[in-house]
């Protein structure tokens, strides 16, 4: 039985989308025990209408939290003003051993702060990192990390990101011996910054399937399973890609709606287009794991619907089942001992 704490109050469509997702996930996974964190009165009154009753309700436990972090709040509010917020209470459940992982669709920054400060980071992890599954053109996910805007990463950070990403890809996404790359401006070893080159040197000495430098296009072509980078470039690429994909799809839709003939064509082609667009859909990939903290932490998109919430819960469940946290901790211990032994090349 895996115990996941869900921040029911977080997200644009909370608590409805989160409860809907909770219902779907409970029905799909017998071994899931959910801790629903949020306003007790609200949750009690809504649970049943999202199918959480009978056997499912027996595996769903309400944990009261009296406030919620809003988009106007600062990420650090959970440390002082909003200690009773649903995301912080959820994190505390993991810290106190009552849950194995947390899932939140709320304020990304607050969820990251809660995970880092309340759960704490694993030994040897300087920076937890946010990993995003980018749907590549081979119909599989490519893990890009860090996308969490940690800037000025050092080589050992990027090597850590790569290692954590590889473990996540293998254990949670089921990709056998994932091919790992370091994001750079050219395939050749000599291309990139001192940071990326030193990170590559470190990875060559580790037991990962390291494929060298990845370029921007490799995020989408499926040539790599895991691509590690500094959080600045990862964040920019993630936000840019979301906007570009959305712009193309909306733009095409608008263009098709301009004339009756094309509208009719669009109608006929719709099921096929839908099927393809589903491949690109973040809903399928279940949120972004924050790797390197003492517990499974999945941060979902604010816009998540019920299906996306259920995917995020599934990701947390798999992370718990596969003991991803312990495995990352063990692998990092090896990395740490190797890099301490050999000395690290830093940028400055």
């Amino acid at each position: 039985m895996c115990r996941v704490a869900l921040d029911v109050m977080g997200g644009d469509h909370a608590p409805h989308a989160t409860l809907e997702g909770a219902g779907i996930a409970l029905a799909a996974h017998d071994d899931l025990h959910l801790l629903l964190v949020g306003d007790e009165t609200v949750l009690k009154s809504l649970m049943a209408s999202y199918g959480i009753k009978g056997e499912l309700a027996a595996r769903a436990e309400i944990v009261h939290a009296s406030s919620v972090v809003t988009m106007e709040d600062k990420a650090t509010c959970i440390l002082k003003d909003k200690k009773d917020s649903s995301i912080r209470v959820a994190a505390q459940l993991v810290r106190d051993g009552r849950a194995d992982g947390i899932v939140s669709m709320g304020h990304t920054g607050a969820a990251m702060v809660a995970s880092k400060m309340v759960l704490g980071t694993l030994p040897g992890v300087d920076r937890p990192c946010l990993a995003s599954a980018m749907p590549n053109m081979k119909g599989r996910p490519t893990i890009l990390l860090d996308v969490g805007a940690n800037v000025d990463s050092k080589p050992e950070h990027i090597a850590q990101f790569a290692l954590m990403g590889a473990l996540y890809a293998e254990e949670v996404l089921g990709i056998k011996r994932p091919k790992v790359g370091i994001l750079s401006v050219g395939e050749e070893d000599g291309k990139g910054t001192d940071t990326t080159k030193n990170a590559a040197q470190m990875l060559k000495q580790l037991d990962v399937n390291f494929g060298g430098n990845a370029e921007g296009r490799d995020i989408w072509n499926g040539n790599f399973d895991v691509i590690a980078c500094d959080g600045f470039v990862g964040n920019v690429v993630l936000k840019s890609s979301e906007a570009l994909a959305e712009g193309i799809l909306f733009g095409l839709r608008d263009a098709i709606m301009q004339t009756w003939i094309s509208k009719m064509g669009g109608l006929l082609a719709k099921p096929a287009m839908r099927k393809f667009m589903k491949k690109l859909d973040y809903v399928e990939y279940g949120g972004a794991p924050l790797l390197g903290v003492k517990g499974v932490s999945i941060i979902g998109h604010g816009r998540s619907n019920g299906r996306a919430v259920a995917s995020a819960i599934r990701a947390a469940l798999r992370g718990c089942e596969h003991h991803v946290v312990v495995r990352i901790q063990d692998s990092l211990a090896v990395l740490l001992s190797q890099t301490t032994a050999s000395g690290t090349g830093e940028r400055e």
Copy 2:
């Protein structure tokens, strides 16, 4: 009369696409004088078949170059082994005052080296930068620079990129008082690296319409006209975006071709979809200018067809007409005097 030297031998479809583009450009612009640089025999035999005859031929002059840089060559080959290559000869025409600008669809690295080393950089420019016009969702271009993979930019480099991009946007693309941003991981002033924050400080003191930090999504939503960044992140974003857009469009096409019904729908919707896709097409935007060198230098996509070549020539022509190089030189002199006076904040 503006004199543009065209590297006729450079590009995947050279010399056919380049000559076709030359013909289109000569017909469209009375004030264009083209220097066609390449194998004299080849050019003489092909020119007429691309419409370069009569009055147009009078404004087209062949300049012989006995070799061409291939994709297998190193960028620096033009300095030693391939001094007689078409791209280097074209650059020499500008250096020698016989042309005002160069256009090449060939080896990007070689074109950059030729521009930097043969033309030379403007006083005060540490790093020439490659600017790419990204087609935004408002149907206009957003200039992103540097995309030329110059890594580890200092604040003054990024400020220079921003300034040069703004001048280019105003003079060549006709955008009045373009809104300039610095690419970062959040809108707020405090977000980003020391480098981006210091670059922002520098821009605030200059006579540009500075809009603060831009995020990844702002490359596409049209909120900024010019976005400056380090060449590492610019290059990654450019390559990633090209691959993503292509992947979506090919993926949609493949999905539509799966069934007869959707195929029929695709056929009906095709003209509308085409019209939209044209907006995204690099062909329309005429290549990437390399800014900061002593002369107009436009570097086009290797895959350019005749229309794209003509667009690139048009961009060079506008650059010449609007004295972009002199204007950049003057503006940089102001920046240089200001930053020398105030001291620059560097990352290290």
